[in-house]
């Protein structure tokens, strides 16, 4: 079966709203870098944060105490429904499922909760913060806002988890009991995450992210959310998902990516939305693409938006859907012209494009993919 995209929502370091973010990407904009610091260390990191203006006017009583990750998710989710022209009532809400893709979750509140324990003891632990540290807190807020009373799932993983969530949506929509499935990927940035990724030698001190560079100089973390409302009918369809698998060593990533590309690439593929982010992922994708789809156009939005981990794959699917619908691709920023892949170094029209692959290679051993088509 195939899933169709009925609506999409986007909260990113380049602002919020599908049209607005897409326009900025086409213009070659890059998110503004923000420095984050922490009292426990002198180390400072550069990140791509969601600007405050992106959520201006967005408020809901349910989100009063919620972390920003839940606000991003709610804003994106509501935009996806709005853009689809879908208003859920009690009956349709029961026939709508919610699936969240998350990687690090509410790390800001988690850290704060644990810091309080370390500094002032267990007796000072906040009963208000603790529930917001739970992985499914964001999903429960959006479910409450939308009135969803049926299935709600939160999937945890790495940069590929969004594709796993869409595959789960596909599995669930096989059931005629459901009319819609809202899939949301969301992530928030914190100093602690930057420090952890630095220890893994995956982070660079300052932009730019240089995709597919031999230097592998690292990524910049981004944050935000992407949401897609899936239905059964629509112009853009998920023709096939590929559950991929896991790799135990970074060097093995290319092998699994080749399998994914081979399986998804039976029909003519016009473009691939890559997860290249300046790390080992780029080499793995480069090797896989060069062998399986050497002539295809390859785009990555991460130099412009940052690596948003749990939200990343949803952003990639949104990029693919926009590219197929709008028939053009934004420029890949900061890519060396010597990279042997076919990258759009400038805004590029793709009038004939019908099919796109979204390739998800995560930093924590997971890889997956899917194929989108426009009717």
């Amino acid at each position: 079966m195939s899933l169709a995209i009925a609506g999409m929502g986007w909260v990113t370091p380049l602002g919020s709203g599908i049209d607005s973010v897409w326009k900025r990407l086409l213009q070659g904009h890059e998110a503004s870098a923000t420095t984050v610091s922490e009292s426990v260390s002198d180390r400072r990191y550069t990140t791509f944060r969601v600007p405050e203006s992106a959520l201006t006017g967005f408020a809901h009583s349910r989100l009063r105490r919620a972390s920003v990750i839940s606000r991003f998710a709610a804003a994106a989710g509501l935009e996806a429904l709005h853009n689809a022209g879908v208003k859920l009532d009690s009956q349709s809400a029961e026939r709508t499922a919610l699936i969240f893709a998350i990687s690090n979750g509410g790390v800001i509140y988690t850290k704060r909760f644990y810091r309080d324990i370390l500094e002032a003891g267990a007796q000072s632990a906040s009963p208000l913060l603790f529930p917001e540290t739970v992985f499914n807190a964001s999903a429960s807020h959006l479910a409450a806002i939308l009135g969803i009373t049926g299935a709600s799932y939160t999937l945890v993983g790495d940069g590929a988890v969004g594709i796993a969530a869409i595959r789960m949506a596909e599995d669930m929509m096989a059931n005629e009991r459901l009319d819609y499935c809202v899939v949301v990927g969301t992530e928030e940035v914190d100093w602690l995450l930057c420090d952890a990724y630095r220890l893994w030698r995956l982070l660079r001190p300052a932009p730019p992210i240089e995709p597919f560079s031999n230097q592998r100089s690292g990524m910049i973390l981004g944050e935000g959310a992407g949401a897609i409302l899936f239905a059964r009918e629509g112009a853009i369809t998920v023709e096939r998902t590929h559950a991929g698998g896991f790799f135990t060593k970074r060097a093995q990533a290319a092998k699994i990516l080749k399998t994914i590309l081979r399986d998804l690439g039976h029909s003519e593929i016009d473009l691939v939305i890559s997860s290249a982010n300046g790390t080992f992922v780029d080499q793995a994708e480069h090797a896989a693409l060069e062998e399986i789809l050497p002539d295809v156009l390859v785009y990555t939005g991460k130099p412009a938006l940052g690596e948003s981990v749990g939200a990343a794959a949803l952003w990639q699917v949104i990029l693919a859907a926009q590219a197929l619908q709008q028939r053009e691709l934004p420029p890949v920023l900061h890519a060396d012209s010597a990279v042997s892949l076919r990258l759009p170094h400038a805004r590029t029209e793709i009038p004939q494009a019908r099919q796109a692959i979204v390739l998800g290679c995560g930093l924590n051993q997971q890889a997956a993919g899917l194929r989108l088509a426009i009717r």
């Binding site: 979750g105 370390l118 632990a125 529930p131 739970v134 992985f135 796993a164 059931n175 005629e176």
Partner: protein, 419 residues
């Protein structure tokens, strides 16, 4: 729930068999020890020693012996030493499962958890905060992600199926089994590995203590004088397979999963709707999914955390649907293992069906005045059981129920434990 799935336009509703299982919990390592603890109504809750609980109201939890866990790691074909405890639990559970069904090759793995390798996250932040050494930080960080114990376990036995890690708070384990059940039932998958894990961590322990959800006393589900839960830990896995295919290849059918219900009650992030509507909807949907009536259910393994709110809401929901069916919560014996709870309790139901016994609800004296339930008080009892229901409810108003049915093929009785 999966009544009318279609694959290639064709209606498919496959029956779903449990062909193997593995478990590590405070009740024991493996099905045999677990059954023995259930039969003997063993209280497996003990004082917490992993971290300081001096400032907490609650001082106890259901815990797994590190010594046994680390000794058992050498059972894996590719033992690894630097993994999180949760990985060792998963490896141990998978080892037991594969000992029963070495040829079980899942197409998908669906696992529930709430906190992944949280204790390594704590180690990392504590070292930063106290300007301690970060020599082990790369190991802590590498083993922190929730999917890592799943990957570690699969890697240890050469399984390469893609994974979905569900983090639906305390319902995660039941959600994982329920979703896996639907995947097989729909015909989209033939074999799925499902279950849950969670290892005790200081942050989560203090979190429940801060909510005053955990008790300084014994955990007394559904008792009038209950004062809260105790935490636990563990891992449990079930091998689900299309029943026809399992029988064709001569695999034993330990039980069938016949229904799954999920609901979201949206009442409060930490409290269930006091009316019990969320729990009721999950159970109703499971019954509808299984196409059976409440009268067909012989035993309910309740979520039964022993908090005032949960047990009141769940008790109301049970008595609104079922008339006198035996109910027990086994959390008094082993604590609440969060993401693992639903999976461990599915195994408790499996053992109950296989061995025709009602698992006990220990530490029970007097039923809550506001509830009308048939509690299996303090001692396991023999009973004729065909169908068991298992409930799990979690933060965020997420509720899940699965229904299991005894295998009626004589050669399948007892499965791996009744040698």
């Amino acid at each position: 729930m999966a009544q009318s799935n279609r694959v290639n336009g064709k209606k498919v509703t496959a029956r779903v068999a449990v062909v193997a299982a593995g478990v590590v919990s405070p009740l024991g390592f493996g099905l045999t020890e677990t059954l023995d603890s259930l039969r003997n109504s063993r209280d497996c809750v003990s004082p917490v020693r992993r971290f300081s609980v001096e400032q907490c109201r609650c001082k106890t939890a259901g815990q797994i012996s590190d010594e046994r866990l680390l000794a058992a790691r050498n059972d894996a074909p590719r033992p690894r030493r630097r993994l999180h405890r949760a990985s060792h639990m998963m490896i141990q559970a998978l080892n037991e499962l594969l000992t029963q069904q070495p040829q079980f090759k899942p197409e998908l793995t669906v696992i529930g958890t709430t906190s992944g390798g949280m204790s390594y996250g704590e180690d990392y932040y504590r070292s930063l905060h106290q300007a301690g050494k970060l020599r082990h930080a790369p190991t802590w960080i590498a083993n922190y992600p929730a999917q890592k114990p799943v990957i570690d376990a699969q890697e240890a036995f050469g399984i390469s199926s893609p994974g979905q890690v569900i983090a639906n708070a305390c319902a995660s384990g039941t959600n994982a089994i329920g979703h896996a059940f639907e995947c097989v039932r729909s015909g989209r998958y033939k074999r799925v590995l499902a279950g849950g894990y969670d290892a005790l961590s200081e942050m989560v322990f203090v979190g429940f203590d801060s909510l005053q959800a955990s008790t300084p006393d014994k955990c007394r589900p559904f008792d009038r004088n209950r004062t809260g839960m105790v935490l636990g830990e563990g891992a449990a896995l079930l091998a689900l397979e299309n029943l026809d295919l399992a029988q064709q290849r001569g695999a034993p059918v330990l039980a069938e999963i016949i229904g799954y219900g999920i609901s979201t009650d949206n009442y409060h992030i930490t409290q269930p709707d006091p009316s019990g509507i969320g729990a009721q909807q999950a159970m109703e949907r499971a019954l509808h999914s299984a196409e059976i009536s409440a009268r067909d259910v012989d035993y309910i393994n309740a979520h039964g955390t022993a908090t005032v709110f949960n047990d009141t809401a769940e008790g109301k929901a049970i008595s609104s649907l079922f008339n006198g069916v035996p109910v027990s919560s086994t959390k008094g014996m082993m604590g609440h293992s969060l993401g693992a709870a639903g999976a461990i309790e599915a195994i408790v139901c499996l053992l109950a069906l296989q061995h025709q016994l009602l698992p006990p609800n220990i530490n029970f004296a007097i039923l809550d005045d506001n509830l009308d339930l048939n509690i299996v008080a303090n001692e396991a009892r023999p009973a004729v059981l065909h169908t068991a229901l298992s409930n799990s409810f979690g933060f965020g108003g997420t509720n899940a129920s699965i229904l299991m049915r005894r295998s009626h093929r004589r050669q399948d009785y007892g499965g791996p434990v009744e040698a």
